[in-house]
């Protein structure tokens, strides 16, 4: 998953403020716009947009702040999200469907069903999630451009 510097066609970084529910979705919207203008296939844009929205919501819901980066390379698209905040004590548990630590406020906004991380995994070709409890979380995922048909390579 390492990207050689000369292979990056575009790198764009967005800042996300934790708890900023008002603008939630705007960064994913921006990512979608960039990819649409670049002319990527709809199917790929849909998958990465959905995964990015889930990742953006996670920072807003659970972290203090974070940065979301979009990388475009000739062979894959990659999103990297680095946040500062409470982190995830048990990453495996967080990956299981239905597990959630969301509070009332998050649920009111239609999130917090414990579907976010599994849904990122479902839409991505590769996903890495690491976290330091009480420090922050690192998430990255990749969608390959040359294997659009394979929806669930890791299932």
């Amino acid at each position: 998953m390492e990207i050689k510097e000369n292979n990056i066609l575009l790198h764009k970084m967005f800042h996300i403020e934790g708890g900023d529910f008002k603008t939630a979705g705007s960064i994913s919207d921006h990512v979608k716009k960039i990819l649409s203008e670049a002319g990527f296939p709809n199917k790929i844009i849909r998958r990465i947009s959905i995964a990015t929205f889930e990742a953006e919501m996670n920072v807003i819901c659970y972290a203090t702040r974070g940065d979301l980066s979009l990388f475009i390379t000739p062979t894959f698209l990659k999103i990297v999200v680095e946040d500062e905040g409470k982190g995830i004590p048990d990453v495996n548990l967080a990956m299981s469907e239905g597990y959630s630590t969301a509070d009332e406020k998050i649920r009111e906004l239609g999130f917090g069903a414990g579907m976010g991380l599994p849904n990122i995994k479902k839409n991505a070709d590769e996903m890495i999630l690491t976290s330091k409890f009480r420090q922050g979380t690192h998430l990255e995922f990749i969608i390959y451009l040359d294997r659009q048909e394979t929806q669930l390579p890791f299932e």
Binding site: A24, G25, S26, S28, D29, K32, N42, R46, S49, I50, T52, F53, E54, E97, L109, G110, F111, G112, A113, G114, M115, G116, P118, N119, K122
Partner: protein
């Protein structure tokens, strides 16, 4: 079914996107959770929901849904409306409750388009 038929069946009011009533609706998906919309709704679906924050428009746009129908007379904020206009996603509101709205559309032939869930049945 086209969006205008949905409007007529449910006596719905078009909140925004008047000019888009000829849009073809192949299937529908009902949810109060955006997580469900993002995980399960198929492209081109009509989203039936009571959720009116602007995030519903972002979710619908990112998942390529074609229109949003609010139930039990819920009305979106000005902000939600503006975003929907920008994203070209028509918004409708009906005074029917969720169950009735879904039931009526189903009766008139509109089908579900939820993607198969892990332990559930495939929607047909």
């Amino acid at each position: 079914m086209i969006l205008k038929e949905v409007k007529d069946i449910l006596n719905a009011e078009v909140v925004s996107g008047d000019h888009d009533l000829e849009k073809e609706i192949k299937c529908a998906f009902a949810a109060e959770l955006l997580s469900d919309v993002l995980a399960l709704a198929q492209e081109g679906a009509l989203l039936i929901t009571g959720f009116t924050h602007s995030q519903v428009v972002y979710a619908a746009d990112l998942a390529n849904l074609c229109a949003i129908l609010f139930i039990k007379g819920k009305r979106p904020s000005e902000e939600t409306k503006q975003l929907a206009v920008q994203k070209k996603i028509p918004l409708l509101t009906t005074s029917f409750m969720m169950f009735e709205a879904c039931g009526l559309l189903y009766e008139y032939g509109l089908k579900t388009c939820a993607i198969q869930t892990e332990n559930g049945n495939k929607g047909k």
